[in-house]
Amino acid sequence: MADQMQSQGASRFGRVLVYALLTLMCLYYLLPLYVMISTSLKPLDEIRTGNLLSLPVSPNFEAWIKAWSGACSGVTCDGLKGYFWNSIRFVVPSVLITTIVGAFNGYVLSMWRFRGSDVMFTALLIGCFIPFQVILLPMARTLGTLGIANSTTGLIFVHVVYGLAFTTLFFRNYYVTVPDELVKAAKIDGAGFFRIFWRIILPLSLPIIVVSIIWQFTQIWNDFLFGVVFSSGEQQPITVALNNLVNTSTGIKEYNVDMAAAIIAALPTLFVYFVAGKYFVRGLTAGAVKG
């Protein structure tokens, strides 16, 4: 009895410690976000005179509006608006294409093994470990040859090529857990290659599709290097524009606009995570196959 009391006390102490530590960590990681948001809501005077951590006296969205449609980067003063849509224009197709083709690759590599399919998979796997910088020059050559250099199509192409290694890996590893007997049963029922994919395998894939979309969207939206190298001027993605805006050397440094612009640039990935994360249902197929 006494032992039990003691161990209960010990476990309570441990719990308090864990929570204290977690709260501390949370504060540590959330502090920059707090600073960004509060700064973006302050006018410039307040930023110059006030404390970094103090709450805005009279919060307003002027900096946000300026960041969206009036901030200057280089010679133009149109804000991030145009670049935001630039990013949407190439990120959405890239994410969709890599996810769909990745699902298809994974299906073939796990359910329809052929001679050399393992070698092929290994080769794709290596693709995940190739650093961005290594492919810059060969890719520039390739885009030039294909006649899609400096275009949205070219940027989509780059991201699809680079992203396929990852999405194929996701889907292939997910599909190896789907029992072979499901495909065999469908074959006996008379379903062919595409029908099995479309009617049996794809409906099982929601969790991994969500994973793939979150991952790819975050990767491609946040990419800077490919954006700065393979696009120019009006075509540039928001990450490049944000950099230009923040690093513009003319005039005074508008911290509130910089902060607002940075948050705007980060919002879509947060949005995707919140929306899609809800559908991140694990074990959709649990119990469907074995008792």
């Binding site: 029992p179 007997e181 499901l182 065999k184 049963a185 469908a186 074959k187 006996i188 029922d189 008379g190 379903a191 029908r195 009617r199 049996i200 409906p203 099982l204 959709l284 197929t285 649990a286 119990g287 469907a288 196959v289 074995k290 008792g291």
Partner: protein, 368 residues
């Protein structure tokens, strides 16, 4: 021409032979069991019949048609898998009608077939559920329903009861047997469970290491196993194997058996055994042939009595299994509980030698 004919079918991966020339003929409406330990090639053979695995050489005929080069859907078969393999995203109704839909059966006809199948398997109330909402037994029933809806020449079952618990397994076994009687179609059924094999099969093919060891009715295989492997595989508890010396007694052959501290000689009359005079043979005797002493039978031809020391007694309710030592080997006897003694005690045991079988200790083949 029978429903299924397998002629000298072989399967090799590289230099490794998985199946070494299988020959089986199944008549229309027969229930064939492929039984054997894991790795014997029984599931591979089933996959080859289904068309899910390629045939290295030989011929498979289904309903008189050579099907070697036909795809699974054109072989007129239906298959029930160990894992049930129900489509998780479809309802029971969609699971059953999926195959019909692909074969472009009209919608009205599909509904009729689904209703019929649901009625046969008594699962009308399950039709709109997803597989994840069903119990193991219900899933198995849906898997069978999907097969029945196809109305094939040949049903293939791949260890369909292995994932069920013991009680449900017995129930479903009966259900499958009833279904076979009702539908009257040819079934090929793979299992590693010899009790399923005995209870369900019209014919059994006992397989080992890619070969059919014996092919026959359950009773033939139980009573007349061709070798030591078949004898030991079929029956539970399995057959006793006692190494015995063949001796001569009153101008007849006899078996020397030492048990309970005494040596007995049981006269036997078996063709082929005379060649083993003075040598050792393996005597195979089923546990139910060694029982307590029944007075009116003792002394009748082929019945002998010997007293023995009980080492372990295992009551099962209906019978008590007694373990004794004979010629140094553990031997299981099946005794009525009223007559059974417990361990450490001695009791007379009566041997019915009429169905005893004999094996050569080296070749493990049947002598007599």
């Amino acid at each position: 021409m029978g429903a299924l004919s397998i002629r000298d079918v072989r399967k090799s991966y590289g230099t490794q032979d998985i199946l070494k020339g299988i020959n089986i003929e199944v008549e229309d409406g027969e229930f064939l069991i492929l039984v054997g330990p894991s790795g014997c090639g029984k599931s591979t053979l089933l996959s080859m019949i289904a068309g899910l695995d390629s045939i290295t050489s030989g011929e498979v005929h289904i309903g008189g048609r050579l099907v070697n080069n036909l795809s699974p859907k054109d072989r007129d078969i239906a298959m029930v898998f160990q894992s049930y393999a129900l489509y998780p995203n479809m309802t029971v109704r969609q699971n059953i009608s999926f195959g019909l839909e692909i074969r472009k059966v009209p919608k009205a006809e599909q509904d009729k077939i689904v209703a019929q199948v649901a009625q046969i398997l008594q699962m009308e109330q399950l039709l709109d559920r997803k597989p994840s909402q069903l119990s193991g037994g219900q899933r198995q029933r849906v898997a069978m329903g999907r097969a029945i809806a196809r109305d094939p020449t040949l049903f293939l079952f791949d260890e369909p009861l292995s994932n069920l618990d013991a009680k449900l397994r017995v129930e479903m076994r009966t259900e499958i047997k009833l279904l076979h009687k009702r539908v009257g179609k040819t079934i090929v059924y793979v299992t590693h469970d010899q009790i399923e094999a005995m209870t369900l099969g019209d014919k059994i093919a006992v397989m080992k290491a890619g070969e059919v060891m014996q092919y026959g009715t359950p009773q033939q295989i139980y009573d007349n196993p061709v070798n030591l492997f078949v004898a030991s595989f079929m029956g539970s508890p399995s057959m006793n194997f006692i190494p015995c010396q063949v001796v001569s007694v009153n101008n007849k052959l006899g078996l020397k058996i030492e048990t309970g501290g005494q040596t007995h000689v049981f006269p036997v009359d078996a063709k082929g055994l005379e060649n083993y005079m003075g040598k050792e043979v393996i005597v195979g005797i089923r546990p139910e042939k060694i029982t307590h002493k029944v007075d009116f039978l003792a002394g009748a031809p082929n019945f002998y009595v010997a007293e023995s020391l009980i080492e372990i007694a295992e009551p099962t309710g209906a019978d008590t299994l007694l373990m004794v030592k004979m010629n140094g080997k553990d031997v299981v006897c099946r005794v009525h509980p009223d007559h059974a003694r417990t361990h450490g005690e001695r009791m007379p045991l009566m041997f019915d030698m009429s169905k005893t079988v004999y094996f050569d200790p080296l070749t493990e083949l049947r002598i007599a």
